[in-house]
């Protein structure tokens, strides 16, 4: 691994004894008549029920959602009766969960608050997906959406096609990722997809925007994911198990002058991620990449150091990505098979990673998982994912 730190010489401080606890994944529904406020309230309730911490002791709140308008985090705090001394609103799409947890970790570490509820939630009413797309960003309004209104599918099709040609990646290679995730999802009772997926089915799926076909796409749905962030002493006092935050990175609008996106912002910071955590890619037991499209998973396998750029196809051919495989990847089934609950999707890998290192993943549990990596990717405001982030977690034994 090369450390790509550029002119900024400042060292990231360790997170000391910050832990992430109480992973909550509410069962998704394809369409919901409830509001995002409702889903967020339900997630808070699950955090309280799951941790035994009382609502009034939650003194930090970090929210990510696309569908709370006109409210933001503060409106939700009043709506749901939270009185907090630290509050953050993280509107970063698929990068929200990990970014939110990073913010919360610094807040509890600095004593700015004690317990932060971090929630990603969105409702999915008929029309809300289109509404989110249409109002996503100014660039998308001005320069993407009017070009076919293909939403992210069209934009990712352009990235995927370029990537596949440049690095000799076939649809079969990408299919392996989707098929393995579906296999994992069948062990996750919350996953919306209940049927197995074969490589044949993947290959023969109807095209959406070449080369993106049906099983390359996530299914928008309603749902919520959440965690609590606190210091180890707080967790111990409450008798809650937590995953330690060993290292994390984020980056926005990296390498914007490259004509086509072939890597995410991770490549700028990945050295620091591992050096902070004191481990290397080989030490990671389970990997949860952000899977809006399989091609992005492959990009992350490269950018996060599991193989070199251009070797992603060979990597997925030579590894078994299932729970029981040698490279357990997106063990809950990921968004591709669980569904994408808007900004909640940014927490899917994180909550699963916490469960894995705490050994509470149930049927999707990877045996002996102690070190997990989860990454996030989001904000397709124009022609590329603008925001990227990653986190390494370890179980308490680590």
């Amino acid at each position: 691994m090369t450390n790509r730190m550029g002119k900024f010489s400042i060292d990231r401080r360790a997170y000391d004894d910050v832990v992430i606890t109480t992973p909550v994944s509410l069962p998704y529904v394809r369409f919901s008549e409830q509001s995002a406020h409702w889903w967020i309230g339900r997630a808070l309730r699950a955090l309280v029920d799951g941790s035994g911490i009382e609502a009034r002791d939650i003194d930090g709140f970090c929210l990510s959602s696309f569908t709370t308008a006109p409210d933001t985090a503060i409106g939700l705090a009043e709506h749901l009766g939270l009185s907090v001394r630290w509050l953050d609103h993280v509107p970063l799409g698929g990068a929200s969960g990990i970014t939110g947890v990073r913010r919360a970790a610094r807040a509890v570490q600095s004593g700015d608050c004690d317990v932060v509820a971090c929630i990603g939630a969105d409702t999915n009413q008929r029309g809300s997906f289109g509404n989110t797309l249409a109002n996503f960003s100014r660039f998308s309004q001005d320069a993407v959406y009017p070009y076919g209104a293909g939403g992210t599918n069209a934009s990712f099709a352009l990235i995927a096609r370029n990537y596949m040609e440049q690095f000799n990646v076939s649809r079969e290679d990408l299919g392996r990722i989707a098929v393995a995730q579906r296999s994992n999802a069948l062990k996750n009772p919350n996953a919306l997809m209940k049927e197995p997926l074969t490589l044949d089915q993947y290959m023969n799926a109807r095209p959406i925007a070449d080369p993106i076909h049906l099983y390359d796409c996530v299914m928008p749905c309603a749902g919520a994911e959440a965690v609590l962030v606190m210091r180890q002493d707080t967790a111990r006092a409450c008798g809650i198990a937590g995953a330690r935050l060993r290292g994390s990175i984020e980056r926005h609008n990296a390498r914007s002058i490259e004509p086509m996106q072939t890597s995410g912002g991770w490549v700028e910071d990945v050295g620091e991620l591992y050096s902070m955590a004191g481990v290397g890619p080989d030490d990671i037991d389970v990997v949860q990449t952000y899977d809006d499209y399989p091609v992005i998973c492959m990009m992350q396998m490269e950018d996060l150091g599991f193989c070199r750029k251009g070797e992603g196809a060979e990597f997925v051919r030579s590894h078994d990505l299932r729970i029981e495989g040698d490279f357990p990847h997106n063990t809950s089934g990921g968004q591709l098979s669980c569904g994408q609950a808007g900004a909640g999707g940014s927490y899917v890998g994180l909550t699963e990673a916490v469960r894995q290192v705490l050994g509470t993943a149930g049927d999707t549990q990877v045996k002996g998982a102690n070190l997990a990596l989860a990454s996030g990717f989001g904000m397709m405001t124009y022609t590329r994912g603008l925001s990227s982030c990653a986190v390494i977690l370890s179980g308490e034994g680590a």
Binding site: S9, G75, R85, F139, D269
Partner: protein
């Protein structure tokens, strides 16, 4: 409950105010770019040099911080989006300071910007929050004026504060504004004019209200080493507090979240109200200024009237208040109104005021208040800034 750790290794510098305009045909993106261009002129830093960015605005939609990052060519490794109006300056300061302190970023540009196109204010009000849509604006669409009229009416009766007292605050702020070339209000305000102003929503009268405008405010949070390298004067962040939705059980707002955290602020800062050389308080209405004077420990509420009478709030007075004129006299540039308390406090202690200098200014108390989601402002924050190095 954990106490805040000190802000070691953090320097606050480079206050920027982009001159306000009553109405602007530009966008929030333009105003944000103007603020960054001003930071650039002051520091020589360009888009590639900032690795942190913190942003507050009401009028950048559909974009948030990350859209702004792309729009303006930044490539940061830490960003934050702060949609809390009048509390956003203190919150940005806190977030950026922790990011720098923890090594998550080294140079954070904190920017608040809002435009004010002919119909923006009405639109902002209309789309402000679900509670306001459902439960306040249908009751007369008086905007914040009506909400604060209820708060003021209650506060004045409860604590014996009068319009005469508010007049003193407003007249002092106007006097301060006259030395600030960027202030939108250019004419003196007399006590008599204040008292005879036309009523807006009893007991709120014309000069109790701010004037919405377009503008941008910015500052930089970095390490002392970096600041030295850039040749920037710096301030130290002595202590901060923040609180949201405090005291929801109070039937009418008579206090803000400061009241819950004030001890934490002064003990972490290692000083008290008496040590402040000035106060930069969020002044959407003078009643809120009075509330802060009490909640931040300068006076008990029942003694407010006397406290106001006993003090001189002009730049050279006993307790200089909102030395740029505050929003009441300089204008309220949306979310930038929540930053001007930081930039003005910073400028005074760095000895680079827009107008007249507060004599021997070394310490400033900054206080923010924001987001009338329903019937009260629910975001509060405060910070103590101290002069560190003048360059």
């Amino acid at each position: 409950m954990a106490r805040q750790k000190p802000y070691d290794g953090v320097a606050v510098c480079a206050p920027v105010t982009v001159p306000y305009a009553r109405y602007s045909d530009k966008t929030a993106h333009w105003w944000t770019g103007s603020a960054l261009a001003a930071l650039s002129r002051q520091t020589g830093l360009g888009p590639a040099d900032f690795d942190g960015f913190c942003f507050a605005s009401f009028s950048a939609g559909p974009d948030t911080v990350v859209g702004m990052v792309q729009h303006l060519g930044l490539s940061p490794r830490w960003i934050d989006h702060i949609p809390t109006g009048g509390a956003s300056g203190v919150m940005a300061l806190r977030r950026a300071a922790r990011a720098v302190q923890m090594g998550d970023a080294e140079i954070v540009a904190c920017v608040a910007a809002d435009t004010n196109q002919i119909d923006s204010f009405r639109q902002t009000l209309q789309g402000f929050s679900r509670f306001s849509q459902d439960a306040t604006y249908p009751y007369g669409f008086g905007g914040p004026n009506a909400t604060f009229a209820l708060i003021a009416d209650n506060f004045m009766r409860e604590y014996g504060v009068s319009r005469e007292d508010f007049a003193k605050l407003c007249v002092a702020q106007r006097a301060n504004a006259l030395s600030n070339p960027f202030a939108l209000m250019k004419k003196p305000l007399t006590h008599e004019q204040y008292m005879q102003a036309r009523p807006i929503s009893d007991p709120i009268h014309l000069f109790d209200c701010v004037m919405p405008c377009a503008g941008a405010e910015a500052f930089i949070v970095t390490t002392p080493e970096k600041a030295q390298e850039l040749g920037l004067s710096t301030a130290r962040l002595a202590a901060t507090i923040e609180r949201h939705n405090a005291f929801p059980e109070d039937p009418v707002q008579t206090r803000g979240g400061w009241a819950r955290d004030i001890d934490d602020l002064w003990s972490a800062a290692g000083c008290g109200p008496q040590d402040m050389d000035m106060v930069q308080l969020y002044d959407d209405y003078p009643v809120i200024v009075a509330m802060q004077l009490a909640d931040l420990g300068f006076s008990e509420k029942p003694e407010l009237s006397r406290f106001i009478a006993d003090n001189d709030f002009t730049i050279t007075g006993s307790l200089p208040l909102n030395t740029n004129g505050g929003q009441l006299s300089a204008g309220q540039a949306g979310a930038a109104g929540g930053f001007q308390n930081v930039t003005e406090g910073l400028r005074q202690i760095l000895q680079t005021p827009l107008g007249d200098q507060v004599p021997d200014a070394r310490r400033a108390l900054i206080s923010g208040f924001g987001l009338v989601n329903y019937d009260r402002g629910i975001c509060t924050g405060a910070a103590v800034l101290e002069q560190e190095v003048l360059r």
